[in-house]
């Protein structure tokens, strides 16, 4: 789509052919993005380059800044959110690592924001132009301290758009940072996707103090999510990374710390049923269940279709919410069936899967910067079948 450098509308409704990164940018803009603070890092950079063309030129213009590094990026994103504006940043492995301290601050101060990690091969500088799925565990355990951050994973360009909108809604409804884990393949893969008209998708804005909002028709109770008092509004708006009470002021007592952190975990647990659900593909009569997410799942999908043609009873459980992990659902779906976990990592997805179903699973580990092709997955299906 060609863009004019003048007042553009937020929502470019219609059919588009473009890459996953562009879809993420447009999803954020659809959801009401105001502030973008980022740093160039392959393969997330085109999200930023799209946003700089759009955000300042909207009828209700937003603010774009290329920061001096990822540490500044995440910190500025938090600051912007505290002025009651929707803010985001996008990065990849090395940047995600740098941001961990800032992520901890966002969780502790219950700041709504979206952080997109376009995964590439790691560790360290690794494989900048090849995909990976090695930030799965880091998304849950990357920063110090106990916390849980909702983490979503798209598998197509359309889902790059849809799940970004969902990510903003979850962030605003539950006053939490939210991660979107894309990967290098999706970032540059071009596919057809559709942007719906304004109003077709729900867009959630965070509650004011004392206000109760709804998300997907459900009331978000004040018992779990405290309405956010932002800068420049009636009462003193304050928060800190230190342990604090409901007013945001420092309180290091055990009682307050427990009360506050228990609530921060509970709010995610209580409303996790509103997060994007996993997709069940041909699982009804399956004897083998493949568990996967992201672009790896595209190969698994292909393998399932080919295997079915030769009569093998195999299906795919495709995760879209990685954290909190859908323990009960996976338990039900894998009862009395063999499980094959496929991932572009040495050994990460197996941890939550094995813990959920309390047994060992078969595993295809592919950390070398390539999606495991359907032939490899088929080979495993045959092996397991025997």
């Amino acid at each position: 789509m060609k863009l004019q450098m003048k007042k553009q509308s937020r929502i470019l409704a219609g059919r588009h052919l473009d890459s996953g990164n562009i879809a993420v940018a447009e999803g954020a803009i659809y959801a009401g993005l105001h502030g973008y603070y980022g740093y160039p890092i392959t393969p997330s950079t085109s999200i930023m380059e799209r946003i700089v063309k759009r955000l300042p030129n909207l009828e209700d213009p937003g603010y774009f800044l290329q920061c001096e590094d990822e540490i500044a990026s995440i910190t500025s994103t938090i600051g912007c959110s505290w002025t009651r504006k929707k803010a985001m940043t996008a990065t990849s492995g090395p940047g995600f690592s740098l941001m961990q301290e800032g992520i901890g601050l966002a969780v502790m101060t219950e700041t709504p924001l979206v952080l997109v990690d376009v995964m590439r091969g790691g560790p360290s500088t690794g494989l900048p132009t090849f995909p990976g799925q090695q930030e799965l565990m880091q998304a849950h355990f990357g920063s110090h301290g106990d916390y849980i951050i909702p983490t979503f994973a798209p598998w197509s360009v359309q889902e790059c758009f849809d799940l970004t909108v969902e990510a903003f809604n979850a962030a605003e409804a539950l006053r939490t940072p939210v991660f979107l884990l894309s990967d290098q393949v999706l970032s540059s893969l071009k596919e057809k996707f559709v942007i719906p008209e304004e109003g077709a998708l729900e867009v959630v804005n965070r509650a004011h103090p004392g206000e109760t909002i709804t998300w997907k028709g459900e009331e978000i109770s004040e018992e779990y999510v405290i309405g956010m008092n932002c800068f420049g509004e009636e009462r003193k708006a304050f928060s800190t990374g230190l342990s604090h009470d409901e007013s945001g002021h420092v309180d290091l007592s055990a009682g307050t710390f427990s009360r506050m952190t228990n609530r921060m975990f509970s709010k995610i647990e209580k409303y996790q049923h509103l997060f994007p659900k996993a997709v069940h593909h041909r699982l009804d009569d399956a004897e083998i269940v493949i568990v996967s997410f992201g672009s790896t799942a595209r190969s698994a999908y292909e393998a399932v279709e080919i295997a079915r043609e030769s009569g093998k009873k195999v299906g795919l459980f495709r995760l879209r919410t990685l954290w909190p992990f859908p323990v009960k659902e996976l338990e039900e779906v894998t009862k009395n069936r063999e499980v094959i976990v496929v991932e572009m990592a040495r050994d990460q997805l197996t941890w939550p899967v094995e813990r959920a179903i309390l047994r060992r699973v078969y595993h295809i580990a592919y950390p070398q910067g390539v999606i495991p092709p359907p032939s490899v997955i088929l080979g495993k299906i045959v092996e397991v079948g025997e």
Binding site: L17, T129, V185, L189, K190, E191, K192, R298, P373
Partner: protein
């Protein structure tokens, strides 16, 4: 039912541009498309590949890379052929540039092969840079079915769900629209001429000569 097109060449030959134009044209014909790219680390002279998969609007495209039995394999450089000749299947139509691909080992089963002077034609039109668009024009004729053998090919390849293979037809007008919209101003005219020449070359060829 799907059409799988793999285009392989070296950096600077415009492989990505025609992958993009092909995807864009199919998209404008209201089809579902996935366009995947792969680069080698080096810039000029490195192998570049575009994989374009075309399916009916409501179908899902899973794995976006083309690893076996492409409908069309277009190679603009010897390296492209050397790297990908092993994926040729019995339904594959092979297109190779006459000047750049000197040795085509053709003992494997395939549907048809053409070595076409894409490069020479481009030079005739004024610049070797448009070799890629000439090749695109040639491919476009193959995708504009009207009873040509790609459509029979599709029915052979997908006996279960072929239905009406012309569902995957991309008319030349869609290509011309894409070229006009996506070419920089100064290349528009020569690109359109290159496209038309490639298209005419394909139309004028008699299949039997090349099987």
């Amino acid at each position: 039912m799907r059409i799988k097109v793999k285009i392989a060449g070296v950096g600077g030959q415009g492989v990505q541009l025609i992958g993009k134009l092909l995807a864009e044209s199919a998209f404008r014909a209201n089809l579902n498309v996935a366009q995947a790219v792969k680069y080698e680390p080096s810039t000029s002279g490195g192998l570049t590949v575009a994989d374009v998969t075309i399916v009916p609007e409501d179908e899902i495209i899973g794995y976006p890379y083309i690893e076996a039995n492409p409908s069309i394999l277009l190679v603009l450089a010897q390296r492209g052929w050397d790297e990908y000749k092993h994926i040729v299947g019995e339904n594959t139509v092979i297109l190779a540039d006459e000047s750049n691909v000197k040795s085509l080992y053709l003992k494997m089963k395939h549907k048809a092969h053409y070595t076409i002077p894409f490069g020479k034609t481009a030079i005739e039109l004024g610049t070797e840079k448009v070799m890629n668009v000439v090749a695109l024009g040639f491919m476009a004729e193959l995708l504009d079915f009207k009873g040509n053998y790609i459509s029979d090919n599709l029915e052979e390849m997908h006996p279960h769900d072929s239905g009406d293979s012309t569902l995957l037809e991309v008319a030349p007008e869609k290509f011309e629209e894409s070229i006009i919209d996506l070419s920089p101003q100064k290349f528009r005219e020569v690109n359109i001429s290159a496209f038309k020449r490639g298209y005419d070359m394909s139309m004028s060829l008699d299949i039997k000569d090349h099987l």
